[in-house]
Amino acid sequence: MLRPRLWFALLFLPVACEPDSAPPKGTTTPTATTGNDDSAPVGELGETAPENIVVELSDEVRTVARVSWTTRAATSGYVRFGENGSLNLATNTTTPGTEHSVLLLGVPPATLVELEVVTVGDPEVVSARQSYTTGALPPELPVTSTTGAVESWVGGYQVLPLQGSSFAVTIVDDQGRFVWYDMLEPGFNLMRALLSADGTRMLYCLAGPQDNLSVGVIRQVDLYTGAHVDVPFPYIDHDFIELPDGTWAGIVVSETAGNVFDRILEMPAGGGDTVEVWNAYEDPVLLEFLDTAPMGTNFTHANALDYDPVEDAYYVSLKNLGTIVKIDRATGNSVWHLNGLPNSFEALAGTPQVELAHQFQMLPGKVLIFDNGPTTRGWSQVLEMALDEDAMTVELLWSYRHDPDLYVFAKGDVERFADGGTQAVWSSAGEIQNLNAAGDLVWQFNTSIGFAITFVQRVESLYGQP
């Protein structure tokens, strides 16, 4: 992506001690710590007091600021910050040293943000409270609307890739407000975006155009500058994940003797040689259905990928066969096929046929599926099914349909929250719904026309996942 020269708005902030912002018990506020060595307190506290504090608002992502400061003695520190006078957010703690830098993430545009720099210790040393205002959003982003209130992920965020009138990766907070964005050039197929598990960068799965998947990449994006590095991942399509050790795993479209099918390839984080983990063309159960698609078209059409570190197993959704495959990562062998043509399970009475599904979530003894359904049916739904891997049975537990009916003709995502609530992402409709454990609609997010959502990643923190 072409990016204009990066300009930083250097905000040398004035000292602004707030009379009613007394630090918590056990902390000490230096009399002055900002950009004035002469006024720094002397003695032990002065050695660890934050000095030369500079706040730089990114001109590329104008909701993100970088705070840097120095200490005379090697120490660690962090910044607590927030909007409307609250300091409810906090950065990670810096590594021990005398020069420190952190990003302030998670605040909406055009918002007054207050902050304090805190040196870790006993007692803590806290800077004077300071403030800055975040910038405006690019006009190319959609107008969004929300109704109700989030109940299941208060204080969290969602990574939302947007596709349509313009292409962007965004992060919204629990009020549906954009807190991070990256406008993309059209031409790539934006399939999936992830905040890296360590919270240091964004990762995008950018498949090539359908007629040239060879140019697919994993894009690594700096959260502050927006600068990116593309790592070639030829023929990657639809979905990729980041394993707990940082390894990337992606769905890759392949061809043998005119037959098109999918594989799962792993790549070391940041790039390197790929390793094949699974190959649909070597799955004897799937090969029985090779002739269900015309020669030259993908007979599996894998479109969603998940990984279970406990079982060291992959799960992949094969849209054209209506099935989810469990794959033993160590051997690359298929363990079972759920639903669809190659079903390994007995469907108990009342269990519907799943067709053209997209994202899913494996749960203990259950699976949650976004079932797009055929166009002739004309509506999509969320299904929750019980799996008995001993008896090899599958049974419908719960389903949810939009009111009025909504058909999602591309993508679709679903998640069960820890409190029993459920998120349904009606991707091509640009809508996200949250239901509580009772199945009642409690929150809805919509985009203006022209903006579809692809797959969603929900994160508790923008500073890395536990």
Binding site: G135, L137, P139, W426, E431, N446, I449
Partner: protein
């Protein structure tokens, strides 16, 4: 989602309501209509510019308008391929000349399952359509052709067999014929084609676009804003909350500031040719905005160079626009009085 209240109102009733609104505007004009130049010897009430160059824009400075869309409606045979033909269309929605070959870059079909004809028109007029209103979207780049078949349309290159989905009880189907390929932007022609049991038509022939859009603007009742002739000119619309329809303004969507001058024309004449606002300007300067609620007019420019100031003859207009919105009307438009 379109305003549900509006959907409950029949089209004649809505039109009567609009007519009533417009009568009110016209009545207001009869007493407010005057040129922004005082007669000799009469104490002036013209605004004076802030010596600092600050030009504060508020709702009082904004124009008002009412607009109406009357999209041609074609009942079509369900479940068959539909042919679109725009070869005879020589003018567009704004009654501007149109070349069916050179000016048309993209055709888009939107399936809107839960909206009727009036709901679609309301949503387009008010920029209130949501993605969730849309049950399907396909497009087609015609190149030098002036006809297209529904079966040729794809979803970003993926064939969805859209022609088989054009069935009874699938709501309204909207055809957008556009310059450029940004969804919902640059519409030159519009048509609604709805699968209907009694229909016999399998073709949608788009003729003149003139008459689809009617637009009545009032620039005379607004409070003009003042600007220094030679600058500086820091425009600040932080306090602006309403657009010309008195709807809440979406400040984040404003992406262009335009200044234009119209020597030899009265404000009323500009108003009457409102759809030609850009064509009628003697000179016009723009600057792209990347967000925020302030701009420096020194950043304006056109092909001849940077904005030279307000020394030339007016009247002068300043507009804040959303070029990415389906409704092309400026979000804000005012008369600038230099001194």
């Amino acid at each position: 989602m379109a305003n549900p209240d509006s959907l409950a109102v029949s089209r004649p009733a809505r039109r009567a309501h609009r007519a009533s609104l417009w009568r009110g505007v016209v009545l207001g004009l009869t007493v407010a209509c005057r040129e922004p130049v005082p007669a000799p010897g009469v104490e002036t009430t013209l605004p004076k510019p802030d010596p600092s160059g600050l030009i504060l824009l508020t709702n009082l400075h904004n124009f008002s308008y009412v607009g109406d869309l009357d999209v041609p409606f074609y009942p079509t045979v369900p479940g068959v391929d539909i042919r679109f033909d725009w070869s005879t269309a020589t003018d567009d929605l704004q009654c501007h000349a149109l070349s069916p070959v050179d000016d048309i870059d993209n055709l888009a079909v939107l399936a809107l399952p839960n909206l009727d004809e009036a709901g679609v028109e309301y949503g387009l007029s008010n920029d209130s359509l949501q993605q969730a209103d849309m049950g399907g979207y396909v497009s087609y780049a015609p190149g030098d052709e002036t006809e297209a078949w529904l079966s040729s349309f794809t979803f970003f290159g993926t064939d969805t067999d859209i022609e088989t989905l054009h069935q009874l009880d699938t709501g309204s189907w909207l055809l957008l014929v556009t310059s450029g390929d940004t969804l919902g932007v640059g519409a030159r022609l519009l048509a609604l084609f709805t699968p209907t049991a009694e229909a016999s038509a399998t073709e949608v022939e788009l003729g003149s676009g003139c008459g689809i859009l009617s637009f009545e603007a009032d620039l005379e009742a607004l409070t003009p804003a003042a600007a220094l002739v030679d600058g500086p000119w820091l425009v600040d619309w932080t306090g602006l909350t309403l657009d010309g329809r008195t709807h809440p303004i979406e400040a984040t969507r404003i992406n262009q500031l335009m200044v234009a001058r119209y020597p030899g024309r009265t404000i009323r004449e500009i108003e009457e040719g409102f759809l030609d606002l850009e064509l009628d300007a003697e000179e016009l300067w723009t600057t792209q905005l990347t967000g925020g609620t302030t701009a420096d007019l020194a950043s304006l420019g056109n092909s001849a160079g940077p904005f030279p100031g307000f020394a030339a003859e007016g009247p002068w207009l300043l507009a804040l626009r959303c070029t990415l919105c389906s409704n092309p009307a400026p979000r804000f438009l005012t008369v600038l009085v230099p001194s």
